[in-house]
Point group: D2
Chain length 381, copies 4
C-alpha cells in the first residue's frame, strides 16, 4: 500500500548513469520505495533535469549531498516526511563520507560497492554503522539471485561436504579496447576518485564476496598479481590471485576487464568432498550440482524448494528472472528489514551489509600488498 512505502532518497545516479537507473528500476519492481529526494548530480543543470525526470520535487532536489543529509534529517526530526533511507551511487571516493553523513542523521543506507577507498575508512564507517543500529546494505547484486542463495543454503546444509577447492572468476572485455574512458565513467581511471584498485575494486570484490557468501568461509592467505594492459592507465585492469583456506582448501580468483570477448562472466565453482556446485551469472536461473562421480543436476529457479531461493523468486520456473530482479531483491530485503526495525524477515546473512564492505577492503588491501611484494603470500586475518 502507498502508505507503507519507504521514503527514499538518492545521491548520485543522474542522467546517463547506468547504475542509478538500475537502482530506480530495482526499487520500483516491488513497489516498496517512493523516491522523494535526491542529489543526483553535482552539476546544477543536470541535477535539476535528472530530478525532474525521476519525479523528485524541485524543492527536494539538492545540489550538495551534505545539504541533502542535513535538510532531510531536519525534516525527519520535525516529523515532516524526511527520507527513511538513502541510496548512494556516486564514484567510489564519496561512498563513505556520504554514508557517514546520512547515518549521522539517522537515515538508513543502501550503498554501492566498494564501501570506501581504504580499509581504514571502511572500518571506521562500519563502526559508525554498528553503533547506529541502522540498516546498512551494500549492493553486492549477485547475492540477490535465487540460485546464488540456493547454493549458499546447499553449502550450509552440507550438500557439498567439506570445502576443498574454489574457483571464482569475473571476466569482462569492456576495458580491453581503445582509449581511456571519457564522460560519466571517467572517474574509474582516476585513483583519487576510484581508490587504489581498478578492476580489483570494480569486479574483483564482487567475485570475492560471492565466493565467501556461498562457501561461508574466507581464505586465510592469498598470493596475487595485479596487471595493467590499457595504455596510459594507472589502475589495474587484471587480477589473478591464489587462495589458501585454513582447513587446507585451495582456490583461485581471477578478475579481468580486458578479457576479450567476455560480457559479464562471473562464475563460481566450489568443490567439496561430496559434490560440486557451479553458478554462472549469465545464466542465473540455473545452478549445477554434481555429486562426486555422479550425474550433474541442473537445479532451476522456481523448481528448487529451498526457502532462501523461494524467498527471492517472483515468477514461475522457465520464465527467466535477471539482473534487475536480483537487484530488486536487495531492495525488497532492505525494506523488510527497515520496516521490521532492523531485523526483518530476511534471514541474517542473506543481505550483504557493511561488514561485507570491510571484508572487501581487507581483500583489496591484501591483494595490493601481495602484488607489491611480488606475489608473496599475505594473511587475510
Amino acid at each position: 500500500m502507498m502508505g507503507k512505502k519507504l521514503k527514499w532518497g538518492m545521491v548520485g545516479g543522474g542522467q546517463g548513469a547506468f547504475i542509478g537507473a538500475v537502482h530506480r528500476m530495482a526499487a520500483r519492481l516491488d513497489d516498496r520505495y517512493e523516491l522523494l529526494a535526491g542529489a543526483l548530480s553535482s552539476r546544477p543543470e543536470k541535477s535539476a533535469a535528472s530530478a525532474a525526470e525521476a519525479g523528485i520535487a524541485s524543492e527536494r532536489s539538492y545540489l550538495h549531498w551534505q545539504e541533502m543529509a542535513e535538510c532531510e534529517g531536519a525534516l525527519r526530526r520535525a516529523g515532516q516526511g524526511g527520507i527513511d533511507v538513502v541510496s548512494i551511487v556516486t564514484p567510489n571516493h564519496l561512498h563513505a563520507p556520504v554514508a557517514s553523513a546520512f547515518l549521522a542523521q539517522g537515515i538508513h543506507v543502501i550503498c554501492d560497492k566498494p564501501l570506501a577507498i581504504s580499509l581504514a575508512q571502511a572500518e571506521m564507517l562500519q563502526a559508525q554503522a554498528a553503533r547506529s543500529g541502522l540498516v546498512c546494505v551494500l549492493t553486492h547484486t549477485y547475492t540477490g539471485y535465487p540460485m546464488v542463495r540456493h547454493a549458499r543454503e546447499l553449502v550450509r546444509q552440507g550438500a557439498i561436504g567439506e570445502l576443498r577447492l574454489l574457483q571464482v572468476e569475473y571476466a569482462q572485455d569492456w576495458w580491453a579496447g581503445g582509449p581511456a574512458i571519457t564522460g560519466e565513467g571517467a572517474w574509474r581511471e582516476d585513483p583519487a576518485m576510484a581508490g587504489p584498485a581498478g578492476t580489483l575494486g570494480d569486479v574483483g570484490v564482487h567475485a570475492y564476496q560471492l565466493a565467501a557468501y556461498v562457501s561461508g568461509v574466507e581464505p586465510s592467505h592469498l598470493a596475487a598479481e595485479l596487471s595493467t594492459f590499457g595504455h596510459g592507465r594507472v589502475l589495474d585492469d587484471h587480477v589473478q590471485v591464489m587462495l589458501r583456506y585454513a582447513n587446507g582448501a585451495r582456490g583461485t580468483l581471477w578478475a579481468s576487464q580486458v578479457a576479450t570477448g567476455c560480457e559479464n562472466a562471473l562464475t563460481l565453482r566450489i568443490y567439496g568432498t561430496h559434490a560440486q556446485l557451479r553458478f554462472e551469472q549469465e545464466n542465473p536461473n540455473e545452478l549445477w550440482l554434481t555429486p562426486q562421480g555422479g550425474a550433474a543436476q541442473r537445479l532451476t529457479r522456481g523448481r528448487v524448494q529451498g526457502q532462501d531461493a523461494l524467498h527471492a523468486t517472483r515468477i514461475p520456473a522457465g520464465h527467466p528472472e535477471g539482473y534487475i530482479e536480483a537487484f530488486a531483491q536487495l531492495y525488497r530485503d532492505a525494506a523488510d528489514r527497515i520496516q521490521a526495525g532492523g531485523r526483518g524477515s530476511t534471514p541474517e546473512g542473506l543481505l550483504p551489509d557493511f561488514r561485507d564492505g570491510v571484508m572487501g577492503h581487507r581483500f583489496i588491501q591484501a591483494v595490493l600488498d601481495s602484488s607489491h611484494a611480488d606475489s608473496a603470500w599475505v594473511s587475510l586475518a
Copy 2:
C-alpha cells in the same frame, strides 16, 4: 515525471493471480503508469484486499467491471482524472466484453491473450478497436524480448534469405501431473470460461504468433491434431500441427502442457535459403544465427546493434534481462503510443495488437476444424 504517468486501471489480477502481479511489476519497471482504479476480483472481500495491497483507493476499487468502465468513463468526460488505459487479466471469456466496454468509454486497452473465445467475437472486437482509434495491445509477452525483435529485424533485412522451414514449439509440464486444477486457475479447465481451446489457446497461440511475428508470414494451410491426456479433462492439453506456406515453405508447431520435465520451453527455429535463426525463450538474452554451411553465431542482447533490439534493451550485455523486462517492454511501447496519440515511437508492427488476436483465433479455429476432420488440411485464408 509524475505528471506524465498514464492513469491506469486493471480488471482481474487480484491476490493470488500470478499474471496480475506480473502486469503490475512490468508497468512499474519503467514508471510510466500509475494504478488508480481496479476491479480486481468479483468477490467483494478479495477485491477490497487486493485493491488495498495494490495501492488503489477504496472509492476506485470496483466490484463489477461494467461499473468501473462507466464510472471511469464519466470521470474522464468530467475531466476528473478517469483512467487513460485499462489492463485486462481476467479468465478468457471476459476479455472481449471487458475490452469492448472500456473501448466504448474511450479508454485504451491492454489485454491478455487469447483475445476472445471465438473468432467471430475477436473479429467484432477488432472492428470496434479499429473504429475507435484507441491503442489496443495484446500481451504476447515474448515479442518484448530484444532478441525476438532482433530476429524479426534480421528476417526483414533478408539475413536468412527466403523462408523454407519453420519449427516452433512450446512445451510445459505443469498440466502433466495429477488431478484437475482447483483454485485461481480452475477456469482454465472449463470451456465456458476458457473457450473451446485449452493448451491451444493458452500457449499454442503464443507459439503461432511468435512464428508469424519473426518470420513475417503466416502459413496458408495447416493439418492438426488435438489430444487430451489429463483424466477428466475436457479441453486439449497437447497440440501438434503441420504447416504449409504459400511460397512452398513447410513447418511444424508443437504445443504441450503435458511435456514431462519442461518448464516454459518456447523455441523458434527458422531456416531460410541463406541462414538459420534459433531463439529459446528460456535463454532470452541470446539468438543463434547460422549461415548455410557455416559457423553458428551467438548474438547477444546489448551487443547486437539492431535498432529494434536496442529499443528494447535496458542494461548492458551480460546482465541478463528476463520475462518481466519483456513484459515491461509492451507496457513501455504502449505508453509511448498512447502518449503520441496512437502512433508512438515504437515502429509499426513491433507491438502486438488486436489484429494479432484475430490472427490467433483464425489459427485456433483452423486447428479445431482440422482436428475434428481427422487432421485434414484446412485453409487459414
Copy 3:
C-alpha cells in the same frame, strides 16, 4: 588373437566413398575382422586400386558381386578360407540382391540401410534371412552409442513411466545448397538406384528406427507430408510426420536435408508419465533424464552403470567416444554373435537386424501413402 578374426569381405565402398572407409575403420577398431575379399567398385580400374589400398589380394578383388558371392561361397565349402561375413555398402537398389546372394552362400551379412527399395523386397529378404539362420545386421549406426542403449534400458526399466509424447528429428543441410549431386553420391538423386524415398530413406528411417529402438514401441498410425525443395530434384528432401501410438501417445518425426545450418542433428526426446529423456547425436556422450517437475540430470558415458551402456563403452568418462566407435560397436556385436553361432553375448534386440529393415520399409511405405493422400492418417499395422 589373429586366429579368431572373422574373414571379411565388402561389396561397394571403393575409393572416395565415405561410408566404405567408415566401415573399415569401425571394423578395425576392435580387431575382430580381417578384410580378405571385396567387390569395391564396378569400374575395373577403381576396383583394383581400392582393393590394393584396402590390403585385399588381387585374386580376391572381384569386379562383380555375383562372382564374389559364388567364389567365396565355393572357397568356404572347400574349406579354403572363404569369407565368413560380408558388408554391403552399395547404392540402395543393390542392398537386397547382394544380401540375398551372400545369404544363399551361407555368408553372414552386415548391410547399410535402407534394406531394400520396397517393402515387398525387404520382406522377402527378411524371410530368407530368417530361414538361413545367419546373422544379418542392419547398420543403424546410432544404436551403437552407449547412451542410446542406456536410454533404451532406462525405458525398459520403467524410468520414464508410460510413453506419452515422442519427438524425433534428423536435420542436415548438405542438400540445401546449390546444384544436383555429381560424382560418388549421384545415385542418391536417381529413384532407380535410391528407391522411391530420398531424405525419407536416407535419414528418415534412422530417426524412425531410433525412436522405436529406444521407446520399445512403434506408432500405429501416421500422417505425413513429403516435400522437395531442390531445383530439378525428383525425390523428397524434407519429411514431416505426425504419429499416433496405440496407447494414445502422440509424436512428431521431422527429417530434412535442407535444414540450413544443421550438420547431423539427430535428436530424440521422449516424455513419459514419470520422466523425460533427451539424446542428441552431436553430443553422444551424454543423455538427459528429467523427472516430472524436477531437475534435469546429465548422464554420461563411462559414469552410468547400466549394463547395456557399459557393454558399448571402451574408454573412461570425459574421453569422448564418437561416431566411429558407435559404428564399431555394431561390428563388435556382430562378431560376438557370429562367433557364438547366432546368439552372442549381446542381448537380443540391442543389435539392429533385418527386422528393423522391414520396419523401416513399412514406415517408408506408409509415409509415401499418406503423403500421396494429402496427409491422410495411414495405419502402420
Copy 4:
C-alpha cells in the same frame, strides 16, 4: 596396403592397462601399423596372455624390454623384419630408459608423457633423440584433435592478435574419493615409479603443453603451489600456477585430480588483443572464436576449412570424432613421418615430440621449485 604397414612393437600395455588398449585401437584405426612384438608385462603369465590377445606371436613376446630392444634391433640389422617403431606405455620411470634402448637400436619411438622422471633425464634423452635422427613422438593426445590444431593455426594466422591472457585447466575427480590406488595404477602413488610429480606430471603437463602448442609461446615465469588432499598420499593431487609471459601477458594453470564431479575437463581459453579462443576437450568437435565486443562463433570440425584441421579429420561435420581418433592422429602423423624419412607430410610442430617432453620437465621442475619456495616466482628460461 599391407606391405606399407609399419612393423610395430609395444612396451607395457598388457591386459587391464587402459592406455595400452587405447594405443592399439588408435594404431589400428588408420591401418598403418602391424603389431609384431611386445614386452607387455613384466609378469610372465600376464605377458604371454596379453601378447596372445594382441595377436603377437609367442616368439616375439618378450619378458624384458632390454631383451626386446636387442632382439628386434638384431632382426632389423639382419633384414629379418625387426620392428620399425616401438610404443612405450609403461609407468613413468621406465619411459626414458626404454626409449633410450630402442633409439640405440635405430628404432623409432612413440612414448607416453611425461618423457622422464627428471629434467636432466629428459634432456639427455632428447639429445640422444636429436643425434639419432629418428622419429620420436610424445603422445600429447589432445594435439591430435582437429579443433586444437585449428586453434593453433588461427593463432599463427593472427586471428586473436597479440596474446594477453591465457587460462588453462585440467580437472578430474577420480582421485578425489576413497583409498589409495591398488592394482594396475598403483605405481602412480609411488614417487620411485611416477617421479616427483603426481597430478602435475599426469595432467598438469598436458595442460601446459596444450597452452604452448596453441598459443605458440611459453611463459617466462611462474608462481605455483602444489597440494595433496588424499590421505596417505605422497605426491601432489592438486596444482595451481600463475603465469607471466615475456610480452606482458598473464595466465593461470589449474590442474586437479580431486575436483569433485569433473570427468576429464581440460579447457583452454586464450584472450588476444583481437579475439578470444576457447576449447573444451569434452566437446572436441567444436572451437569457440569470439572477436572483441562481438558474437561468439562456434567453429566445427568438418566445416572449418583450415588445412591443419582438415588434415586431422576423417568424417563429416556432425558425426562426432573423439579421443581415440585424436590419438590415432598422432599415430597417423608418426607413420607419415617415419615413412617419409623423418620429414613427413605433417607440418613441423603439429606432432609433439621429445622437445615437448623437455619443455614439460622444465615446467614440472619450475613448479616444484616455486612450490617449495612458498610460491616464489621462478624463471622458466
